[in-house]
C-alpha cells in the first residue's frame, strides 16, 4: 500500500477525468452531500444526522471524506429511477439501446459497497439477469473509502458490513488526520494499479498503517445504533401479529421515502407513455415502492391495502425473507431510512420492540 497527500488524491480525480471516465462522487447541493457528476472533491464538509433530521455542516478542516451518507445512493446510476426500455412506433418495437460509458464512483463507503453487492445478487445471479444493470455495472471503476467517522444513524457494524470496506472495490482509501489529511491507498484491481502508478506516492510504513487502522476503529467506536442479526429472521417471522405493527402504522405515512433512499431496494414498475403527436409509445421502467398501493395491486384490489401490512412487508422482506431469497440481508446498516423518514421512524427501534413479546 502507498500513501498519498490530499494534492495527490485531487490529482487522481483529475486523472480519472483525463482518462475519459465520467466521474461521479460527492457534490454539495441543496444543503446535503449528494452524488453526481463532479469536477473536484469538496473539502471540509460534514453532517449532523438523527431520525428524520440531516444538516450539512462545515468541519473547518481539510477532509475530502469527512461527511457521512447523504440522501443519494449509487443505485441511481446502476438502476436509474426511470428509463425507457423500448418504444413502439408504426406497430414495430424499437429497442432503446443502453450503451453506458466508463464511469468512476468516488467515495463508495463500506455499507454502500455491500449494498452494491446485494444488488449484484438480485440483478445478476440466478436464471434471469438484468442486462441493463449488468452493462452499467461492468463499466464502473469503484474508489471506495473506509469511514474515519460515523453518523448517529449508522449501524454497519451490526452486520459486519463496515466501517472498513470488505467488498470488491477497485481500490480503497483511508483518510487520516482531518486538519492535514493524507490517504492510505490500496489498489486492488489491475486498472486501479495502473492508474495509481501514474500518480505515484510513497510506500506506507507500519506507523501509517497503524494510524489508518486507528481511524477506522474510531469510526466503529462512534457507532451507537444496534440491529442484532442473530435469530432476527425467525424472530420477525414469529412476530407477524405483534401489536407493534399497529403502533408503527400509526406513525408511518406510507410515503415511500425509506425505500427510495435505500441502497438495496430494487422494486420497479413499468408504464406505457403515449405521445399523442408522434403516436409513439414508450415502455418505461420506474422505481416503485412496497409502500405504494399499486405495488401489490392485483385484480380486485391491493394485497397490502393498509400501511400496517406495507410496513410489515418492507421490514420482513428486507431483514428476513431477503435471506431466503438472496442468501444475504437486505440491510447494510447505512441508516438512510432513519435520517430521511419525514417522521423519523427508526427501524432499529422498531425491531428491538418487535423482538420482545408484547
Amino acid at each position: 500500500m502507498i500513501q498519498w497527500t490530499a494534492e495527490q488524491l485531487d490529482a487522481f480525480v483529475q486523472l480519472l477525468h483525463d482518462e475519459a471516465y465520467e466521474v461521479l462522487g460527492p457534490v454539495i447541493r441543496d444543503g446535503a452531500v449528494t452524488y453526481g457528476a463532479m469536477q473536484a472533491l469538496p473539502v471540509g464538509y460534514g453532517d449532523e444526522q438523527a431520525a428524520g433530521h440531516y444538516r450539512l455542516t462545515q468541519r473547518g478542516d481539510q477532509t475530502r471524506f469527512g461527511y457521512n451518507l447523504g440522501p443519494s445512493t449509487w443505485k441511481q446510476f446502476l438502476f436509474p429511477p426511470s428509463e425507457t426500455l423500448f418504444s413502439v412506433r408504426d406497430d414495430l418495437i424499437h429497442p432503446v439501446e443502453n450503451q453506458p460509458g466508463k464511469r468512476a464512483f468516488i467515495g463508495v463507503r463500506a455499507c454502500e459497497m455491500a449494498a452494491i453487492e446485494v444488488q449484484d445478487r438480485v440483478f445478476l445471479q440466478g436464471e434471469y439477469t438484468e442486462r441493463r444493470y449488468e452493462q452499467r455495472r461492468q463499466q464502473v471503476f469503484i474508489v471506495a473509502v473506509n469511514c474515519s467517522q460515523a453518523a448517529a444513524t449508522c449501524f454497519c457494524t451490526a452486520n459486519d458490513d463496515g466501517p472498513a470496506v470488505r467488498g470488491s472495490a477497485d481500490m480503497v482509501l483511508t483518510e487520516v488526520n482531518p486538519q492535514q489529511p493524507w490517504y492510505l491507498v490500496e489498489a486492488i484491481s489491475e486498472t486501479a494499479k495502473k492508474l495509481v502508478a501514474k500518480i505515484g506516492g510513497a510506500p506506507a510504513n507500519d506507523e501509517q498503517h497503524h494510524q489508518a487502522q486507528a481511524a477506522v476503529n474510531e469510526a466503529a467506536e462512534q457507532i451507537s445504533r444496534q440491529l442484532p442479526r442473530k435469530g432476527l429472521r425467525d424472530a420477525l417471522f414469529d412476530a407477524l401479529e405483534h401489536p407493534q405493527w399497529d403502533d408503527v402504522a400509526s406513525r408511518c405515512l406510507s410515503c415511500g421515502n425509506c425505500t427510495q433512499v435505500c441502497p438495496t431496494c430494487f422494486c420497479s414498475t413499468t408504464q406505457e407513455q403515449t405521445d399523442l403527436v408522434s403516436m409513439e409509445v414508450r415502455h418505461q421502467r420506474l422505481w416503485d415502492s412496497c409502500f405504494t398501493e399499486m405495488h401489490s395491486y392485483t385484480t380486485g384490489g391491493a394485497i397490502h391495502h393498509k400501511t400496517r401490512s406495507r410496513y410489515r412487508q418492507w421490514l420482513t422482506h428486507k431483514l428476513a425473507a431477503w435471506e431466503d431469497q438472496f442468501d444475504v440481508s437486505g440491510c447494510t446498516g447505512c441508516g438512510r431510512c432513519i435520517s430521511w423518514c419525514p417522521v423519523g421512524i427508526d427501524l432499529t427501534e422498531e425491531v428491538e420492540i418487535l423482538r420482545k413479546s408484547p
Binding site: R29, D30, G31, A32, T34, G36, G52, H53, Y54, R55, L56, G70, P71, S72, Q76, P81, S82, D246, S250, R251, C252, L253, S254, C255, G256, N257, Q260, V261, Q271, E272, Q273, T274, L276, V277, L286, W287, S289, T292, E293, M294, H305, K306, T307, R310, S339, W340, P342, V343, G344
Partner: protein, 266 residues
C-alpha cells in the same frame, strides 16, 4: 365506429383546469381526432346536444342550482370525470365550510341580497357517482390527456396515486423537510406535479390533494411535537386548495388532533 363525445362542464372554479385542455396546443388537434368535442363553451360556441360519452366536470357545488345541474349532467353522461381540487375536494372556496357564510357575504358584497349561495362548497363526488377523479390545482395537462386516452381506449389511466415524495426522490431532490426543516405536505399528497415546490427549495402546499393511505394526523403530530409547528401554522397549511378533504378537516377543525390512534374515537 363513432368517436366518443366529450363535454366539459364548469361549477365554482377558476377555469384553470379546463384551460389545461386548451393548453394542450400540440396535442389538441389529436384530441379532436380522438373525441368529438361536443360541448366545451370555453373553446367553441358550437354545442351539440347530449347525452355525452365523457363529461369532464370542473368546480365545486356551491348553489342550489349547482345541485340540480350536476344531477342532470350525471344523467346525461356515460362517464363522469371530475377534474381539479375544486371538483375533487371543494377547492379554496371550501374555506366557507369553516365559517359563517352569511357573515362572509355581508362583509364582501355591497348588496348581499343578490347572493344566493349554499353554506358549503363540496366536491362533485358528494352529490353524484363519479367514475374518476383527477387531482391537482390546476390539473396536469399530460395527466388529463392520459385520462382521456385511457377512457377512450377503455383502459385504466396510468396516473400514479403515490406520494409526492416518490416523484421528489426520483427527481433527485434533497428532502426539504429533513435537510432544511421546511414544513412539507409532500408525504401525504397525491403525486402529479412532479414535486414542483420541493424542486424549488420549499415545502409542498398539497395542491394535488390527499393521497391514499395518507396519515395526515401523524405528519402534523410530528411537525408539532418535533418541529415546533404551531396550531395556527398547521391550520393555514391545510386550509387551502383542498379545504374540504376530510383528512385535512380533522387538522383544521379538531383542535385535539394528535391523540394516539388507539385513543381516537372510531
Amino acid at each position: 365506429m363513432n368517436k366518443p363525445s366529450l363535454a366539459v362542464f364548469k361549477f365554482a372554479s377558476c377555469d384553470g383546469c379546463q384551460l389545461s385542455l386548451l393548453d394542450c396546443e400540440d396535442e389538441l388537434l389529436k384530441v379532436a381526432e380522438l373525441v368529438e368535442i361536443a360541448n366545451f363553451p370555453e373553446a367553441s360556441r358550437r354545442i351539440l346536444p347530449g347525452p355525452y360519452d365523457i363529461a369532464l366536470v370542473e368546480g365545486s357545488i356551491t348553489t342550489e342550482h349547482d345541485e340540480e345541474r350536476i344531477q342532470e349532467i350525471r344523467e346525461g353522461s356515460r362517464i363522469l370525470i371530475s377534474i381539479g381540487a375544486c371538483a375533487t375536494a371543494g377547492g379554496i372556496q371550501a374555506l366557507r365550510n369553516y365559517a359563517d357564510v352569511d357573515q362572509m357575504v355581508r362583509a364582501v358584497y355591497p348588496q348581499p341580497s343578490y347572493i344566493d349561495t349554499l353554506a358549503t362548497s363540496t366536491p362533485i363526488s358528494r352529490h353524484v357517482k363519479v367514475d374518476y377523479e383527477l387531482h391537482g390545482c390546476p390539473i396536469n395537462k399530460y395527466q388529463l390527456l392520459e385520462v382521456l386516452l385511457a377512457f377512450t381506449a377503455g383502459r385504466r389511466p396510468q396516473v400514479s396515486n403515490d406520494s409526492v415524495c416518490m416523484e421528489c426522490k426520483a427527481a433527485g431532490n434533497v428532502c426539504v423537510m429533513v435537510a432544511q426543516g421546511e414544513h412539507c405536505l409532500g408525504p401525504i399528497t397525491h403525486a402529479g406535479c412532479g414535486a414542483l415546490c420541493p424542486s424549488f427549495d420549499r415545502g409542498c402546499f398539497g395542491c394535488y390533494g390527499v393521497k391514499e393511505q395518507a396519515d395526515v394526523e401523524s405528519l402534523f403530530v410530528f411537525l408539532r411535537d418535533q418541529r415546533g409547528m404551531t396550531t395556527q401554522q398547521a391550520v393555514a397549511l391545510v386550509q387551502s386548495f383542498n379545504a374540504d378533504a376530510p383528512e385535512l378537516k380533522v387538522i383544521a377543525s379538531d383542535r385535539k388532533w394528535g391523540r394516539r390512534r388507539e385513543d381516537r374515537p372510531e
